[in-house]
């Protein structure tokens, strides 16, 4: 029988335990990255149950289009779990933190087109080179520019393209009618062949429109569309930053500023809560509309907006805004399974489905040439021939030169325009401040 210990002995035992425990804790504190070492050899071949985690931002639409369910039915041993962060900036910073810490990563991570150059140039080693898993065979099915942007300087393929963002203008026919403007998309297209024309139409709208509605949602949205039509944006072909000297950037800025000066904007910040609410409340009549915006509008404006919207060609020709990639972090323990999934999700057949069911325009040229893509119409958008419209925009698309800090530069410029728009800052001051901020942020 054990002798009961005295109280003071107990406290000593407890103290000893506490010391041991704290030492163990301290040792554990630095040992977090052990799980990272799991390489492709851990990929199971058989029917072992595997849970694949997918980390995304905004709305990729795979879940909504039922593709995960379809894949899980085809592969009963796979379970797919998606987490999504609404705002891309927040998502990307979380991804970077996870990459730096080597923990918290999903098996599959989405990467936005404005970030892809930074990833391929500085972090290609933190992602699986998809060539090792057989991606070479896929190259011919994608748009060459989409494929090329995800290739690192050493030739590693970091991600597979999901969608692209060919441009159009989405507009509210009911508000246009109230302002005495035509509502026919072809008629409008001929009225706004250039951006200055578009601003003129905006002035006509403003003259007769209901008091609480503006012609455009934001200046920055239009800025992003206009710069998306330019081949050179923030970097030249040699990778030098030219955001402060490139006339295309300043021209797009000036156009955006002139819409503010003409009083055409609803003074909203894109992807902010008030902007989301404004879709349903009819605060604005037009929005620069990359293909993925179609689904976003439906989500925000809701059922009551059905039939009130329409789509028309954008002034100034084809361009791209947005579109994403799916990549596999090197830390993933299920690289083969993850690859099988992204390869399936981005295959032409699924990309066609993503367009017809979830309004994400293909990044696969094979899919884009599919008859079903061009034939798509959209009931919500007054039966607009969205397939034809976006296909044409994609065919005439100017391929842009991407750079590592495109995302930060784009966000800072949007912020500068917001100052002019919301706070009435002098445009020249705002431009100068924006340029200084970019220099400080990327330098």
């Amino acid at each position: 029988m054990l002798k009961p210990l005295k109280a003071s002995t107990w406290s000593r035992v407890i103290a000893l335990l506490a010391i041991v425990a704290s030492l163990v804790l301290a040792a554990l504190g630095c040992g977090g990255d052990e799980s990272v070492s799991g390489g492709p050899e851990t990929a199971a071949a058989g029917n072992e149950k595997v849970t694949l985690t997918v980390g995304l931002f905004g709305t990729f639409g795979y879940k909504e289009a039922g593709l995960y369910d379809e894949y899980m039915t085809l592969h009963p041993n796979i379970t797919i779990k998606e987490t999504s962060i609404e705002f891309e900036q927040d998502y990307y910073q979380a991804l970077q933190t996870h990459l730096a810490g080597g923990a918290g990563l999903s098996d599959i991570q989405g990467i936005e087109v404005a970030r892809i150059a930074e990833v391929t140039q500085t972090q290609a080693d933190k992602f699986v080179d998809l060539r090792d898993l057989g991606a070479d065979d896929l190259e011919s099915t994608f748009f060459p520019w989409k494929w090329g942007a995800a290739t690192s300087p050493d030739g590693a393929v970091v991600g597979l393209g999901t969608d692209t963002g060919p441009l159009a203008i989405c507009y509210r026919t009911d508000l246009f009618k109230k302002a005495g403007l035509p509502t026919d998309r072809d008629e409008l297209a001929s009225m706004w062949q250039t951006w200055p024309d578009f601003i003129e139409v905006g002035k006509q709208y403003a003259a007769k429109a209901p008091d609480d509605s503006a012609f455009m949602d934001s200046a920055s949205g239009y800025y992003n569309a206009i710069i998306g039509q330019s081949e050179t944006q923030y970097y030249d072909a040699d990778g030098n930053p030219i955001y402060d000297t490139n006339p295309a950037v300043k021209d797009a800025w000036d156009l955006a500023v002139s819409t503010i000066q003409a009083g055409l904007t609803a003074k909203l910040k894109q992807f902010d809560q008030p902007w989301n609410q404004a879709f349903a409340n009819g605060r604005f009549a037009t929005i620069a509309c990359p293909a993925w915006m179609i689904g976003y509008i439906k989500g925000q404006a809701g059922d009551s907006g059905s039939g009130k919207w329409d789509v028309a060609p954008i002034p100034g020709g084809g361009g791209n805004w947005g579109g994403s990639y799916l990549a596999i972090p090197a830390a993933s323990e299920h690289q083969q399974e993850a690859y099988d999934l992204i390869q399936w999700l981005t295959a032409p057949e699924q990309q066609v489905k993503m367009w017809t069911q979830a309004q994400h325009f293909p990044s696969s040229s094979t899919a884009a040439d599919d008859d079903a893509v061009a034939a798509a119409t959209d009931e919500y958008f007054s039966n607009a021939p969205v397939g034809e419209l976006f296909k044409e925009s994609a065919d005439n698309l100017t391929v842009a030169i991407l750079g590592p800090k495109d995302g930060v530069i784009k966000d800072t410029i949007s912020n500068g325009l917001l100052r002019v728009d919301q706070q009435g800052e002098d445009p020249d001051t705002a431009w100068q401040k924006t340029m200084d901020e970019i220099a400080s942020a990327i330098g």
Partner: protein
């Protein structure tokens, strides 16, 4: 194994009688060791954890702040000396953030502590349902920053916010709370004040209840009004507590982060389009986690640390003066 004091005395007596050179019995040596080192063992868990999660990060941050390093490539550190600091001191954004931190700190802390003092005084008097009032005071503190801020951000919304519709009843135009410098800072201070007033009031209340009642009675006999009692009995009585809350609030205000971040909505880390409500905490966050420049973020963190020390020092100094002012006041009256 345990030794009582009589054991020790006995052992000491034995040791005295024994030859000086004779080896001490091992039990006794153990006892000596025990007495000398046990206290350290008892406090060590805290200090080990503090070294691992407090001191080490602090020192390592200082080390990082002397380098140019990005989040993408944390293993490539380039020595730059004090460049990050000189750069920071020449950066308008830093001075902007410092000013914002200060102004938001003042508009949130001063009314907050004054209101807390008043509320505590009111609750210190006999009121019906005192438990109910005390619990309701603590409710805002129990809500999460995120939930509270998101609700407040909606209330302060420009187009569809409740506050603007209310102001609209009196014919005011919609205020764009988020985009104005003062309006956004007032909105953020409102959130801070709302969350922390009750907490401070409860701390004051606890301190007030420890002030001896006979002091009040004596003051009453001397003909002091309630205001005089408050001014000359209550406030000096709880002065150390007031100093404590001032210091804690100062630290809190300097580190203000969650409220402005979430109030800003999408891209809140930039603290508004003109950084009109970007605090030092947000600036650090933006540098490190959106521009990925960890070296600069570390320099900002250390600068913040120094600012907090200075601010707390100034507060403590003022507080000491304030105390003597009150004491003098009391003496003056008595004389």
């Amino acid at each position: 194994m345990a030794k009582t004091s009589t054991d020790t005395e006995l052992a000491a007596a034995v040791a005295l009688r024994a030859e000086p050179a004779a080896p001490q019995p091992w039990r006794m040596r153990l006892t000596r060791l025990d007495q000398r080192f046990s206290p350290y063992a008892y406090v060590s868990p805290f200090f080990l954890l503090f070294i691992a999660f407090g001191l080490f990060p602090l020192v390592y941050t200082a080390w990082v702040s002397l380098h140019s390093v990005t989040l993408q490539n944390t293993d490539e550190m380039k020595w730059v000396g004090l460049d990050n600091y000189t750069r920071l001191l020449h950066d308008d954004r830093f001075w902007n953030a410092l000013t914002n931190t200060f102004t938001i700190g003042v508009i949130s802390t001063v009314p907050q502590l004054l209101m807390a003092l008043g509320l505590a005084y009111a609750l210190d008097c006999k009121v019906r349902g005192s438990t109910f009032w005390r619990v309701s005071l603590l409710m805002p503190y129990a809500t999460s920053v995120a939930a509270a801020t998101i609700v407040f951000a909606m209330l302060f919304g420009r187009d569809f916010g409740l506050i603007n519709s209310f102001l609209g009843l009196f014919g005011f135009d919609n205020v764009d709370w988020e985009s104005g410098r003062w309006s956004s800072q007032i909105a953020i201070s409102t959130i801070v004040t709302w969350r922390w007033t009750g907490y401070n009031a409860l701390i004051y209340l606890a301190a007030m209840q420890a002030v001896p009642k006979d002091l009040y009675e004596a003051a009453e006999v001397d003909g002091a009004t309630r205001w005089h009692q408050f001014r000359h009995v209550t406030v000096p009585g709880i002065w150390p507590t007031i100093v404590f809350t001032i210091i804690i609030s100062t630290i809190g205000a300097t580190q203000l982060f969650g409220e402005p971040l979430l109030f800003g909505g999408a891209g809140g880390h930039s603290g508004g389009a003109d950084h009109q409500y970007q605090t030092l905490g947000l600036l650090l966050y933006e540098q490190g986690w959106f521009n990925f420049q960890l070296g600069r973020a570390a320099a900002t963190a250390w600068t913040m640390f120094l600012i907090i020390i200075v601010a707390v020092g100034i507060n403590a100094l003022l507080a000491a003066r304030g105390r003597s002012a009150f004491t003098l006041g009391r003496k003056g009256k008595a004389a």
